[in-house]
Structure formats: C-alpha cells, structure tokens
C-alpha cells in the first residue's frame, strides 16, 4: 500500500495541503457558513485532545476541550457546541453517561471516540444517543469527514412537506408532527426519517443509509443503522414492537411503512 501512496511523482496539488498553511477556512463547504462550527472535544488524554484541536482548527472549526465528563456537562450549555466529540473512557463519569445526559437536553450530534470495538461498548454508546463512532486510531481526514457529515449542512431553503405514515415532516423547519403534536428528534434521526420519507416506494439497504445519512463512502458498521432505527422507532412509532412507519424488509433493509 505504502508503495502506491508514496509514488514519487511530485504532485503539488495535495487537496488540503495547500490550504493548511493559511488559517482561513479551507474547505468549500465551510465557507458558506457565517460562523465556524464549534466542536466540544471531551477526552482525558491531553495530547490527543490537543492534536485533535490542531487538526480541527486547521480545518476551520472552533474547538473547545474538556478533560472529563463533569466539566464537559458544565461547559455544554455555555458553549452550545455544534458537535460533541466524546471519548468513551473518561475518568469519573464515563462517556456513555455523559452522552446520555447531553442527549437528555439536546439533540446535538455526538461523535464518540473509542479504543474498544467490542460489540457491547459500541452498541451501548449508540444506544446512549451517540450518532456515530470512530475507532482509535483514526486518520485526521476520517475524523474531519465524520464531523462534516454530522454538522448541520447548509441546505437550500425549501418549503418541502413530507408525510410518512401518519406523520408530517416540515423539512425546512426540522419538525415532525403527529396530528399537530410535535415529536422531538435529533438531527440524525430527522435525516434518517426524511431519507425514508422522500422515497416511500424504495427499500433502503443499510449500506445505502450509511452512505446517504452518515456520509460513509465505504461500507461501515451496519449496527449504526440498526441502533438508530430502534431509537427512531421508539420515538415515532405508536407501538415500537410492531413498527408501522419504519418497516424492516427482512434481509434487505428498511422502507417507509403505510403507518396504519
């Protein structure tokens, strides 16, 4: 692999390399935003927190760090971050608990960092409300890509109204209502539901959802989809045991249901 990467041809146009020197927001998607996105990094390892800070600031993000869960929860309302980067193993209150508490008051995208990929840890984190996870060690590019996929994209204003089952979705206002009653969803859950509602005739495989909702270009952990579909169902379904809005198509994936 390395042989290919270091092919001696002197390409000056490294995609991000040129832009890294200047401290302006280097990437196209960022420039459309008026203020840079704020990222709260919660990690007890100072070196990694600092390094993540360097990388993200280089990409035009605003970064704040917290060494533990308690200080993160304390800083959270003050900072109002656009995304939380949360290490799962923290001294004192662990990352999963922090995740749960943040989720109680906010739908902010949470990206967890974990050194352990064992099933239980990841699933527990996702069930606690994390939107996505990154396994240490990760590439800076991967980190940035994951963050960008989750930070609210500046979408063109629409007056699009969708309906799925007995729910109505106001895409622009990020609101989902059942018979006029507002249902609170996290941005990720909203995206997932919107994706299904836009093409109610289509069955979405987990891989397609990972690509369209999470922004993965390569196949990734399909548990992400499973866990979030469960979370979404628990909020929007009348009977989460017998889902009628997000229907499982055995062996394929999910599609929008009739809602009855």
């Amino acid at each position: 692999m390395q042989g290919v990467l270091t092919a001696p041809e002197p390409t000056a146009g490294h995609p991000s390399g040129a832009a890294c020197g200047v401290h302006a927001p280097p990437d196209g998607t960022m420039t459309s935003m008026t203020t840079p996105s704020r990222i709260l990094v919660v990690d007890d390892d100072q070196a990694i927190a600092e390094m993540v800070g360097i990388v993200l600031r280089g990409k035009g993000f605003e970064v704040a760090t917290s060494p533990d869960g308690a200080s993160a929860l304390e800083a959270f309302p003050r900072l109002r971050p656009d995304l939380v980067l949360l290490d799962l193993m923290l001294p004192g209150m662990d990352g999963i608990e922090v995740c749960r508490r943040i989720r109680r008051e906010s739908g902010v995208p949470i990206l967890m960092l974990t050194a352990r990929t064992d099933t239980a840890d990841v699933v527990e984190g996702l069930e606690a409300g994390a939107d996505d996870y990154l396994t240490k060690p990760f590439e800076p590019e991967e980190l940035v890509a994951r963050i960008k996929a989750r930070v609210r994209r500046a979408e063109p204003a629409t007056t699009e109204q969708l309906s799925i089952g007995d729910l109505t979705i106001d895409v622009d206002g990020h609101e989902v209502r059942r018979a006029g009653e507002l249902i609170s969803l996290t941005p990720l859950e909203f995206d997932l539901l919107t994706q299904l509602a836009r093409k109610p005739w289509q069955v979405f495989t987990r891989d397609v959802l990972l690509r369209d909702v999470w922004g993965y270009r390569h196949s990734a952990d399909t548990r992400l989809v499973n866990v979030h579909v469960q979370r979404l169902r628990s909020k929007i379904e009348q009977d989460p045991e017998n889902p009628a809005i997000v229907v499982t198509v055995r062996g394929v994936g999910y599609r929008a249901g009739s809602g009855s």
Partner: protein
C-alpha cells in the same frame, strides 16, 4: 491454534497430469483427506459393512458387557452347576438307599417265602399229586400279589424231581419272560443262596417300571428241587424317588432364583457407585468441571467416589488457575493493545499533519515524515492484528453472519487489491463459478480472509498471474487463490498459518505484512466452521483454498474446489471463462509484454523488480477497468 490443527494440507494426491514435481509427500497425521469425486461415496458404502460387523463382534464379546450383567451371568452359571451337582448327588444317594433298603427286605422276604414253601411242600410229601398240585397253586396264588404292600409275582419251576412231579406254577405267566438261561444258571449254581437282579418291567400302560427279580432253589426232601422265582415291583420306591427328585429340583430352582436375585442386588450395589463415578467422569470430560459423585459411607466404593471427587476438585482448581492465567494474559494483550491506541492516534494524527505539509519541509525531513507515516501505519496494522488475535484467543470473537453474495464479496476484494496488483504487474484472473452465489457468512471476516489471500498471492506471486476461482455446491462455497510464484513446499503449507511464520526468513517482507494475516484468516474460517487450507510446490506456486459451509455450523465434508492442482501457467492463463461481473478480461495474448513467457517466470524472482510500479502494470490497471 496451530496450523497442524487446521485441516490444511490434505494428504491425498492429485491424479493430475503434472507428474514430475514432488514425490508424494503426504503431510502426515492430518485428519482424513477430503476425497474428491465419486471415490468418496463408494468408500463410504464399503465402510458401512465392516462397521456393522465390528459392532456385532463387539456385542458378542463378553468383555464389552456391563459388569453387573457379567456378575449375574457368572453367578447364575456357577450356581446352576453347583446345584445340579448337589442335586444329582442327593438323588443318587437317595436312590441307592431306597434300592438297597428294598432289596434287603426283598431278600429277607424271599428267604421267608422259601422256608414257607419248603415247609408246605414237605407236608405234602404224602399227598396225592392233585392235592399237591392244588396246594402249590394255592401257595403260589397266596404268595403272589402281596408282600410289604407291593405287588409281587411268584413262579415255581420244578428242576429235578425224584417223586411226584409238581407242574410249573406261577401267579403271572409273564414272569418267565424275565427269567433267562443265565439267571436260571446262576440260581442253579448257588442253590442255597438267593440270586437277584434288577430288571425293568413293562406295566399295563406300557411304561417300564423297575423291578427286582429274585431266584432261589427250594429243595424238598423226597420230592426234588424247585426253582422259586419272585419279582418284586419297585414302583413305589421309584415314585418316592421321583418325588424326592422333584422336591430337589424345585428347591434347587427356588435357591437358584434367590441366588440370581442376590447376585443382581450385589452387582448393583457395586456397580451403581461405579456407574455414578463413570457418569460424573463423562460429564467432566464433556466440560462440566463441577461434576461430582455422591458419596455415602466409608467403604471401598465410597473411597472410589471420594478419590474421584478429590481428583475432580484438584483438576477444576488447576483448570481454573490456568484459565485465570490465560485470561489475565489475554486481558493483558488486549489492554496493551488498547492502551497503545490512544497515543498511537495522537502519533498518527501528528504524522498525518506533518505528511500533509511535507512540501514545506527540507528534503531530508520530507523523507523522514514519509517513513514516519508509513511505519505508524504499519504499527497500527500490527496492533489491530494483535488485538484480533487476542480476541480469538480469548474466544471473544463473534460471528455476525448474514446472507451474502459470495461472488460479490470476491469481486469486491479483487477490486480492492487491483491497484496493488497493478503496481506489481500482476494479472488477476477471476473465474466466478456459477454455484457460488449465496452463503450465510460474516462479510467482514470473509473480506479480510480474501484480502489476506490476495495480498499474499500478489506479494509472493513474483509478478505472475493470480488465479481466483470460486465454486459452490449444495453445502459449501469455496474460493481458491492460486499464484505461480516462489511457491511453498507441501511441508511448509502446514506452517503458513503459524503466527509470524516466514517461508524464507531471508526474504524481505515487501508489503509490510504483519505475519499475522494468515493466522487470523484461518481463525476467521474456523469461526464459520470452514476450512482454510494451503498447498504448494516449491518454485511453482502456492494454492490457498477457503471453504465455507453455506450455513455456519454445518459440518463440512468436502470442498467444491480442488486444492492440489497443477501449476500450469498456460492452463491458468488461457482458459478464460465468461465472467458474470462483466469484467473485461485481460489475457496474456492481449498484453504480451506484461508477463514473461511461461518458461522464464521460474527464474525471474528478483523481488526488487517486482516492487517497482512498472509501466505495464499501470497499463493493466487502465485496461482492466
């Protein structure tokens, strides 16, 4: 998990056309080679008959019977013999006693009768012959039919008469049938004694009844000698004897059944604790280390149970200790790997930041950052592999099997290594068999196996083509990855799955593999209940075959693809099958400058040459896509 445990390197020998290579060197002591083709079925069929017979022989062998059964059988047999002996002895003694008693009485009676007769005849010396005749008749009649309650018959035969001749008189004419010349002679020889012998007489019903024939001579002074014959029936004694025998037999049977009962009870007393111990041992063997025997009392059997329990306890302790030790060790490896990840993340990000801005650095530092980045990546791969190994060792690896399209998995893996193959100038010849479509597998693991095999084949293929073949049957799917490079010997084929094993330690690892890839792959295959096997010929090439059951956990019997195959380059290159993936196939005829002619590739093994991303390689890439 060593390679010898892997069902690798089958021992069979291909009947294929490539004769000259390697004498048949079967890798010994591997489980039954997978026969391919029809031979398998026939060998199974023929194996069934001896198995059945062996079973019969085993059942017929008393040593295979249960201890209780044997104890009871032996006891019954020996008791029967003992009882029969005693019964026979008693019966004989009683019979003899009865007979002798009766005979003595008979002889006494005979003498009495003779004396009476002598007296009667003596009184008749002066009587008329008619009177005498009447008197004799009367005597005979009165004597016959009485005597000790038994029937007795009397006959009087005149032998030598001096005066009046008495006619022959008898109470039963058939008496004379029993008196033969020999007996008459015996009577004549010893006139004063009483001769006797036992005879069998047919009674009214035709059955032969025992009797005693007695004969003696009566000498009547003045009227000559007469032979007196008497037959005493032994019917009553016979009946007594029969009764006694019946009693003995009945008693014997009762005794025998009692003995059998006792034997059963005793056998059970002994075997039940043994059986319990055996069951406990079996449970232990099956993995239940907490299995114990119930012990009651303090006898020898209780001691067996106690010893067993002691053994089980100490065994469990040892196993627990070892398990704990192993767990601690695995935990340590896992913890180390995890702990290393956080600093590694920082290092990697730092290196990546440096790498992305290496244009700003002076020449030497540029190369330094390159090296740093490459080695950090290598370190990371090694760490990931170590972690995976520790997960397998801890038994923590879980199969996440879903229905997958094997052809798609293979095609994807091939696509992923295509840049690498292109850089090496290596042609990937993919032949997707029609049978290999769906199987329930863990896509991540299968992908990892395929990637390992492909990378491995490209690395060791010395720039030669790599043949990827898939096939499937009802129960299994198989993927074969074959290269035509340096090759491995069949002996080495067993060891390629060992951790950190190198075919040739002097040969450098050009692709920076960790040396754990194949070891992880074989564990991945085993997790599916599948096989990952290797075979090769030195200097000719190597074959790796992955066989997975269509559903995890089903027993694999055979693989749809052959593992031991000829390394015929022309064969591998030429026959290009139509591919369902719609890939454009590149044959050697289309790219004549890509591969050296078949004769040369054995020699051109300069790794540095293969290392360079050569022009033709890139061309392959462009044309194949």
């Amino acid at each position: 998990m060593s390679a010898s445990e892997a069902p690798g390197s089958e021992t069979g020998r291909t009947p294929g056309a490539h004769g000259p290579a390697s004498p048949a060197t079967p890798a010994a002591a591997t489980p039954a080679p997978i026969a391919e083709g029809p031979t398998e079925a026939s060998s199974w069929a023929s194996a069934a008959w001896p198995a059945w017979r062996a079973r019969l022989v085993q059942v017929a062998d008393p040593r295979s019977w249960s201890l209780a059964l044997r104890v009871v059988l032996v006891t019954t047999l020996l008791s029967t013999i003992a009882l029969l002996t005693v019964g026979a002895y008693l019966s004989t003694v009683i019979a003899d006693g009865l007979y002798e008693q009766r005979r003595d009485r008979v002889l006494e009676e005979t003498i009495e009768v003779r004396d009476d007769l002598g007296e009667s005849l003596a009184q008749l010396s002066g009587a008329t012959s008619t009177q005498q005749q009447d008197a004799v008749s009367a005597f005979v009649q009165s004597t016959g039919g009485q005597g000790g309650g038994d029937r007795r018959e009397v006959a009087l035969v005149p032998v030598e008469t001096t005066g009046t001749v008495f006619p022959v008189a008898s109470s039963d004419r058939t008496l004379f049938d029993e008196v033969d010349a020999e007996f008459a002679a015996a009577v004549a020889e010893q006139p004063d004694a009483v001769s006797w012998r036992s005879i069998g007489r047919a009674d009214e019903t035709g059955r032969t009844a025992p009797a005693l024939l007695v004969g003696t001579r009566v000498v009547v002074p003045g009227s000559g000698s007469y032979d007196l014959y008497l037959i005493y029936s032994l019917q009553e004694e016979q009946e007594t004897l029969a009764f006694v025998q019946r009693v003995i037999l009945g008693g014997g049977l009762v005794l025998l059944s009692l003995i059998v009962g006792i034997a059963i009870v005793i056998a059970r007393m002994v075997t039940t604790p043994l059986k319990r111990a055996a069951h406990a041992a079996e449970r232990m063997a099956a993995g239940d280390l907490a299995s114990r025997v119930e012990v009651a009392g303090a006898d020898e059997l209780a001691r067996v149970g106690e010893s067993f329990n002691d053994m089980a306890r100490s065994l469990q302790q040892k196993v627990d200790d070892l398990t704990e030790l192993s767990r601690v060790q695995q935990r340590f490896v896992s913890d180390v790997s995890h702990e290393l990840r956080t600093p590694l993340t920082t290092i990697r990000m730092a290196s990546s930041v440096l790498d992305s801005r290496r244009e700003e650095l002076p020449g030497e530092l540029q190369r330094t950052t390159e090296l740093l980045a490459a080695q950090v990546q290598r370190f990371e791969v090694l760490l990931a592999d170590l972690l995976e190994i520790s997960r397998f060792d801890a038994g923590a690896a879980e199969l996440e099997a879903l229905r997958e399209d094997m052809s798609a998995l293979v095609a994807r893996a091939v696509e992923d290594v295509r840049p690498l193959a292109g850089a090496r100038g290596c042609l990937l010849d993919v032949r997707l068999g029609e049978g290999a479509s769906t199987a329930v597998v863990d896509a991540r693991r299968v992908d990892r196996i395929l990637r390992n095999l492909l990378t491995n084949a490209i690395e060791h293929g010395a720039g030669g083509p790599v043949l990827v073949q898939t096939a499937g049957d009802e129960d299994a799917v198989a993927v074969v990855v074959q290269d035509f490079g340096h090759g491995i010997s069949p002996e080495d084929a067993r060891r390629v799955f060992d951790r950190f094993w190198r075919a040739d330690p002097s040969r450098a690892r050009t692709l920076g593999g960790t040396g754990l890839g194949l070891s992880i792959s074989v564990s991945d295959a085993h997790l599916h209940g599948g096989w990952l096997q290797a075979w090769g010929q030195e200097g000719e090439g190597a074959v790796f075959r992955l066989t997975l059951p269509r559903r995890p956990g089903t027993e694999l019997v055979r693989s749809p693809l052959r593992l031991e195959r000829p390394f015929d380059r022309t064969l591998a290159d030429a026959s290009v099958s139509p591919t369902p993936t719609g890939e454009i196939r590149i044959g050697p005829d289309l790219l004549p400058d890509l591969d050296p002619p078949p004769g040369e590739d054995g020699e051109s093994e300069d790794p540095t040459e293969a290392d360079l991303p050569t022009g033709p390689g890139t061309a392959t890439e462009g044309r194949t896509r």
